[in-house]
């Protein structure tokens, strides 16, 4: 591929206190890619996401957006390019869905400018894309977990980012709402947004993603199409399990997976 990739992480190292949580991680993500970042607990997934979003200063290496290092971006420039939906955020329960989405325009308006017609259009589009028109005036605190997650995604979409990062977006969602959420993310990716999501549920990750990255002890140990990564040795070693395909008759790809604990895993 010619030219820089949309999002590039080069030799990134991130420290939390004395500990190096991310060790020489390199990866590139293109527009419309659906990347699932998986790994066991404390592998450094959320830290990597925060570093890509420019919230943690790297101890070494760089994150680049369109070939330009994030260290040369202002915080608002980063937020116009990359949106982050964090996990388990309590946020402001008394804000309405609409008010919350309007805050997503801050990177475009700054501290002193009000919302223009263009900003309102972006907010309305984000609310429509997440199917929240009916709930626009409900407070975040009154929503179900699934609706709330969509409201947070609406705020991120109002930023009009090129890359959308999500930290465990399907946590706390039941199966139906989980499927709806992944369908929504697929639609967003289809219009050119690169998505990187930390996902705990390996099966859901394999079904949704176009690419799967396994992070283990701060390093990328596998990166490729979900079908291959799931069967790979690296994922098994990282989680201490063996993934076994369960293919329905006549289907080319695995429709689901089951896992067995490895001896001594």
């Amino acid at each position: 591929m010619n030219g820089p990739r949309l999002l590039e992480v080069a030799d990134l190292r991130v420290r939390r206190g004395e500990r190096e949580v991310i060790r020489r991680v390199s990866l590139g993500v293109d527009a419309s890619e659906r990347v699932a970042l998986v790994g066991p607990n404390a592998a450094g997934k959320s830290t990597l996401l925060a570093a890509i979003a420019g919230l943690l200063a790297p101890a070494g290496g760089a994150v680049r957006m369109g070939g330009r290092s994030l260290s040369t971006f202002s915080p608002r420039e980063i937020a116009r390019a990359i949106a982050l939906v964090v996990a388990l955020q309590e946020g402001a329960p008394k804000l309405s869905v609409l008010e919350s989405a309007e805050l997503g325009r801050y990177p475009h308006t700054g501290p002193f400018q009000g919302l223009s017609g263009r900003d309102r259009d972006a907010v309305n589009k984000a609310i429509a894309e997440t199917c929240l028109q009916e709930l626009a005036h409900r407070t975040l605190g009154s929503l179900s977990a699934g609706e709330r997650q969509r409201a947070l995604i609406a705020r991120a979409l109002a930023q009009e980012p090129k890359a959308l990062l999500l930290d465990e977006p399907s946590a706390h969602l039941d199966i139906g709402h989980g499927l709806d959420l992944f369908a929504l993310l697929t639609t967003i990716a289809a219009r050119g947004v690169a998505i990187v999501a930390v996902i705990h549920d390996l099966v859901a990750a394999a079904r949704w993603a176009s690419r799967m990255i396994v992070l283990h002890e701060g390093e990328i140990v596998d990166d490729g199409p979900p079908g291959e990564v799931m069967k790979g040795e690296a994922l098994g070693r990282a989680f201490g399990v063996t993934a076994i395909e369960a293919r329905s008759p006549g289907e080319a790809a695995a429709s689901t997976w089951r896992f067995e604990r490895r001896a001594g895993g």
């Binding site: 919230l55 980063i78 982050l84 964090v86 955020q89 008394k94 804000l95 997503g104 801050y106």
Partner: protein, 330 residues
């Protein structure tokens, strides 16, 4: 918002009419028109006109302005500390102001130099909040916990020094300090109103201009940063504004507790958490609260003014217990 503005107008009207000397609303209005040059004939004799125009009017205006400032301080600190119970004591403002006042009294400045006591209290308040922020910064942590604990430690330290200075002071000086600490607007006039306007109005306008960053902080630190807000810098700016507002209030009126908790809390329930609505609503509610409390402080007893701080505590403490009980149930 219109109702609140009307409520403030009615409260100010009541506060102007009632007191040791009473006026009818008509007298107040015609005196006001005369003051504005819209009416020629005086409605009151000279003594009554002076009491209304030069004693009561600045006092009521000061009550409204300082009440609004206290409420705004509450909104700013509660947003910065992400805690609806935060108030100026977290910044060490009260104890800093008290130490400043005690030193001014101890050294005799307050008896010799006009406005030395409020000036010293203001310097103490600002100094204390500066120390709190610098210690927290030095710990290389802008975390809320370290700010809160530093505030408590600095407050305790300053209170300790204040107690030592008080013990070593003559009784009449201690009396002067206690009188000021109890909080009140007795004897405050146009000069105090002028000083308050010079600090409070620009600080309020600055807070209003920052309503969008304030909204972002509602989301929490990570979310606000992910949306492009420089959170540590914004916290510093908002703390500086809160220190200015509460320093000005404390230095002029002494300690007036609970207004910064009650007004924002009540208004958050009515107009929601967004700063563009909450700031003006809380300002108006704080102004109403202090105008009426000051009226009560003047009107309850014919013989002397009760401390304003005691009146706001009498309503504030039960309100706080009510909030806590409701929160527990929820």
């Amino acid at each position: 918002m219109g109702l609140l503005a009307l409520g403030l107008a009615v409260s100010i009207g009541l506060a102007l009419c009632l007191g040791a000397v009473r006026y009818t609303p008509l007298e107040v209005v015609s005196e006001g028109l005369r003051g504005l040059g819209l009416a020629a004939s005086p409605a009151l004799d000279e003594a009554h006109a002076i009491i209304l125009g030069e004693i009561r009017l600045p006092r009521v205006a000061l009550a409204a302005l300082l009440g609004g400032a206290l409420a705004l301080t509450g909104v700013l600190l509660q947003t910065v500390f992400q805690n609806p119970m935060a108030d100026a004591s977290l910044l060490g403002v009260g104890s800093g102001a008290a130490l400043g006042a005690v030193i001014a009294v101890k050294l005799g400045w307050s008896f010799d130099v006009f406005l030395a006591l409020p000036a010293a209290a203001f310097v103490g308040a600002l100094g204390a909040s500066l120390v709190v922020y610098m210690v927290a910064e030095n710990m290389r942590s802008s975390s809320l916990t370290s700010l809160i604990l530093t505030g408590l430690a600095v407050s305790a330290f300053l209170s300790g020094v204040t107690s030592i200075v008080l013990i070593a002071s003559e009784e009449f000086r201690v009396r002067a300090v206690f009188f000021w600490l109890a909080g009140g607007l007795e004897g405050r006039g146009f000069i105090h109103l002028g000083i308050a306007c010079a600090i409070v109005i620009p600080a309020c306008l600055a807070a209003a201009a920052l309503h969008r960053p304030l909204d972002l902080l509602l989301l929490g630190e990570t979310e606000a940063r992910a949306l492009g807000l420089n959170v540590p810098r914004m916290r510093l700016v908002l703390l500086a504004l809160a220190a200015l507002l509460s320093g000005a209030t404390t230095s002029i009126a002494g300690s007036v507790p609970f207004v910064g908790l009650m007004a924002p809390h009540a208004m958050r329930g009515l107009v929601g958490p967004r700063a563009s609505r909450l700031l003006p609503a809380a300002f108006l509610a704080g102004a109403i609260l202090v105008v009426l409390s000051d009226l009560a402080a003047r009107a309850i007893s014919d013989r002397y003014d009760l401390p304003l701080g005691a009146i706001t505590s009498l309503s504030g403490a039960p309100y706080l217990i009510h909030i806590l009980r409701r929160t527990e149930r929820a």
